[in-house]
């Protein structure tokens, strides 16, 4: 039996396939873009190809992420908070606190045995999210993925006083024109974001182990800055972007068993193709 989790995030869509024993068979990522359903479909097809499976081989599919309602071939939608909690627990069974920094949100979670027992999220503003780095990287004319390396060369960290993304963009332009070295500015940006996220996380009582996930956790500069701001070690999965999709696949496995017991297993054939033409259908 095979299970799938698909996480349609604000920036990236991720699909994960596992077998009955929870072993990872394939994982595919792609940019979300404006057409969620079309992309969900393509990412899913990629994951199936990688694992050498057909859609009908999959026993249960759980969709998560903010675009989860746009995955017509999923059997169930589960919120990203629950999926992240489950996914991160499967990777680090000792985890009690997890921080997921995505493109447009940041989630701080308290986890107990894989269950979500408390959470806080950013409200109304992208200041504490990956968008902050993305926007300032664009202003500085550097690639997002190079920011960590650039920051590692800093001799000092420039204080960035604006947490508002728009004002921070103006501030970095002013710093550059003042002759501040790029690496010092980038290191300052990391610390500014990390302290904002740490302040949010402190609203929960942080208990170790603590894990950092989400796209921003791929940035080594942010991992360093988070360790410094929180004053403690943080665990980072090898593939921090996949945590939600992995949790969704684990929940799919559990949901399948529950449905088999209750006699409520999904029936009918899944039509992966159908999603491809949603735009025309909607016309």
């Amino acid at each position: 039996m095979y299970f799938a989790g698909i996480d349609v995030g604000s920036t990236m869509t991720k699909a994960v396939l596992t077998n009955e024993g929870g072993e990872l068979l394939s994982a595919v990522k792609g940019p979300t873009g404006p057409e969620h359903r079309r992309l969900a479909n393509e990412v899913m097809r990629g994951a199936l190809e990688q694992a050498g499976l057909q859609i009908d081989d999959i026993s249960y599919i759980v969709a998560t992420g903010y675009g989860r309602v746009n995955v017509p071939f999923a059997d169930r939608q589960v919120t990203e908070l629950s999926c992240h909690a489950r996914g991160v627990f499967s990777l680090f069974p000792g985890v009690k606190t997890a921080i997921d920094i995505g493109g447009q949100d940041v989630k701080c979670m308290k986890i107990n045995g894989g269950r979500l027992i408390g959470f806080v999220m950013n409200d109304k503003c992208a200041a504490g999210t990956g968008r902050f780095l993305e926007a300032t990287a664009a202003t500085l004319g550097i690639r997002l993925e190079d920011m960590g390396d650039i920051a590692s060369k800093a001799t000092k960290r420039v204080q960035i006083s604006n947490l508002c993304t728009i004002f921070a963009q103006q501030e970095v332009v002013a710093l550059l024109s003042r002759g501040e070295p790029l690496e010092n500015i980038v290191a300052g940006l990391h610390i500014a974001l990390a302290s904002r996220v740490a302040a949010l996380a402190q609203r929960l009582v942080i208990e170790p182990d603590l894990a950092l996930t989400g796209g921003v956790a791929m940035n080594t500069g942010m991992v360093r800055a988070m360790r410094e701001s929180l004053g403690r070690d943080v665990l980072v999965p090898e593939e921090p972007l996949l945590t939600g999709a992995l949790g969704a696949a684990i929940i799919a496995n559990e949901a399948y068993r529950e449905a088999a017991e209750d006699g409520t297993l999904p029936t009918g054939t899944r039509r992966l193709e159908e999603a491809t033409f949603f735009a025309e259908e909607d016309l």
Binding site: L81, S82, L116, I117, F119
Partner: protein, 450 residues
């Protein structure tokens, strides 16, 4: 079943709530009629039973700008008033109630020369003879009514009120001192009103009205006590719809008493036959502070998930009934003062006994969560209202520490609908169920009985 039917059924609304809800409309219509027939109308502020019975006894129609702000928000017309207040230079961090009505006042007086704006909901608020403000709860209230008074070119009387949660409030002898001060202050207020309307107070009428006010609130309290039962027979939506007749004394009091008694009977019948306001009640919640008036359908969506809101903030609930001996005084002004003080003192009794000062605000919520057997609290910090927001993180901590009841905090505003995102709020509500499930288990392990 269509989506509309589903939404209709998500909360089993009380029939007896409807005539009580209509009382608010009646109040606004009466105030406009009063002005047209040469009778006085006044703009009042939520004053916790202090000034309202006096105005009622003097046959003065009262409308409440803060209630009107909520109505304008619920009817979707607040935005133009908010924009107008913005254009007048009022800072956007003032609360939505004040901004909406300042915008309204500006439109009425500066743009329409004193005419009620044609788009104003419920016939609008007519130009007042004077304004009755209250010092209770927040500092914005002094300045807001002062500013309204200037637009309206009308005098403003501010009713003083005790400040709970400070050291003085717990000192020996404070109660008697507050009663003495309160009665004196009310006498001055009566004299002011008499001068304004050119008539004398009818003290027998005030006596009757005072008794009715106390009885209306006692019955309303009893209705809410019935909500402790599982499944909860009445949802917070019905509470909010029905509360103005008790809280603002909207409409005729004898009629209100009859309607609250009807409501008691309907709720009791539901209790006796095990009927819940939410057909499949899975989670019982306390709602902290003011709801997003513009997005109340949000609660229907939560009801579809089995969430029942069984109790809400003490800031607008009826006072806990007072010992009849304390009320056995002949002077109606003293009865009014004691009744109003009971609102401020009664809810802090647990805190007073435990000698808690700064954290007193959390104690009513602890009582609610314990007695109404809540699985969670929904906190609604308002971006523009410190009084309804700053204590909420502390409330959340105390609920967790003492009772293992988790809280979900969703930021928003009472009037500005741009600040409340229903979809976002719902996305947080779903995972919160997992948290409530977990703490239900923890409470059982810790020997708490719900």
């Amino acid at each position: 079943m269509t989506a509309q039917d589903k939404e209709k059924r998500a909360i089993n609304r009380l029939e007896s709530m409807r005539p009580l809800r209509a009382k608010v409309n009646e109040t606004y219509l009466k105030s406009v009629e009063a002005i047209q027939s040469g009778k006085p109308a006044v703009w009042g502020m939520l004053n916790f039973y202090y000034g309202d019975p006096i105005l009622k006894a003097m046959d003065i129609e009262v409308v409440y700008p803060e209630n009107y702000g909520a109505i304008a928000a619920a009817m979707g017309v607040a935005q133009q008033y908010l924009d107008r207040a913005d254009a007048e230079g009022f800072p956007t961090h003032l609360c939505g109630y004040s901004l909406t009505t300042l915008g309204y006042a500006s439109r009425m007086m500066k743009e329409l020369g004193g005419e009620i704006p044609p788009e104003a909901p419920l016939g609008g608020m007519p130009k007042p003879l004077f304004l009755m403000s209250s010092a209770a709860i927040c500092d914005a209230r002094y300045k807001w009514f002062q500013a309204l008074g200037r637009y309206m070119d009308a005098p403003v009387w501010t009713l003083e009120a005790p400040t709970p949660g400070v050291k003085e409030f717990f000192m020996e002898g404070y109660y008697d001192a507050m009663v003495t001060l309160g009665v004196k202050h009310l006498r001055d207020f009566v004299a002011f009103v008499e001068t304004m309307v050119g008539r004398k107070m009818d003290w027998d009428r005030l006596d009757r009205i005072t008794n009715l006010m106390i009885e209306v609130n006692r019955v309303w309290h009893e209705v809410n006590e019935l909500r402790k039962v599982k499944p909860c027979p009445m949802h917070s939506r019905d509470f909010w719809s029905a509360m103005p007749a008790a809280l603002f004394l909207a409409g005729d009091l004898e009629d209100s008493l009859r309607l609250y008694q009807d409501m008691y009977r309907e709720v009791k019948a539901r209790v006796d036959s095990g009927i819940g306001a939410v057909p499949e009640e899975k989670y019982r919640l306390v709602f902290a502070e003011l709801p997003p008036w513009h997005s109340l359908a949000f609660f229907d969506k939560l009801a579809e998930r089995g969430w029942s809101f069984v109790v809400e903030s003490f800031g607008y609930r009826p006072p806990i009934p007072i010992d009849p001996d304390v009320m056995a005084v002949s002077d109606p002004l003293e009865r009014i003062t004691r009744f109003s003080l009971q609102f401020f003192a009664g809810y802090y009794e647990d805190a007073r006994q435990q000698k808690v000062l700064g954290g007193a605000f959390a104690y009513p919520y602890l009582k609610y969560a314990r007695e109404w057997k809540c699985d969670g609290a929904m906190l609604h910090p308002l971006i523009s209202c410190r009084s309804a927001s700053t204590h909420l993180p502390y409330v959340a901590d105390m609920l967790m520490e003492k009772l293992k009841v988790p809280s979900l905090s969703i930021e928003g505003d009472i009037v500005d609908l741009r600040l409340f995102n229903t979809e976002d709020a719902l996305a947080r509500a779903e995972p919160f169920e997992e948290t409530m499930d977990h703490y239900r288990m923890v409470r059982q392990q810790e020997g708490l009985d719900w």
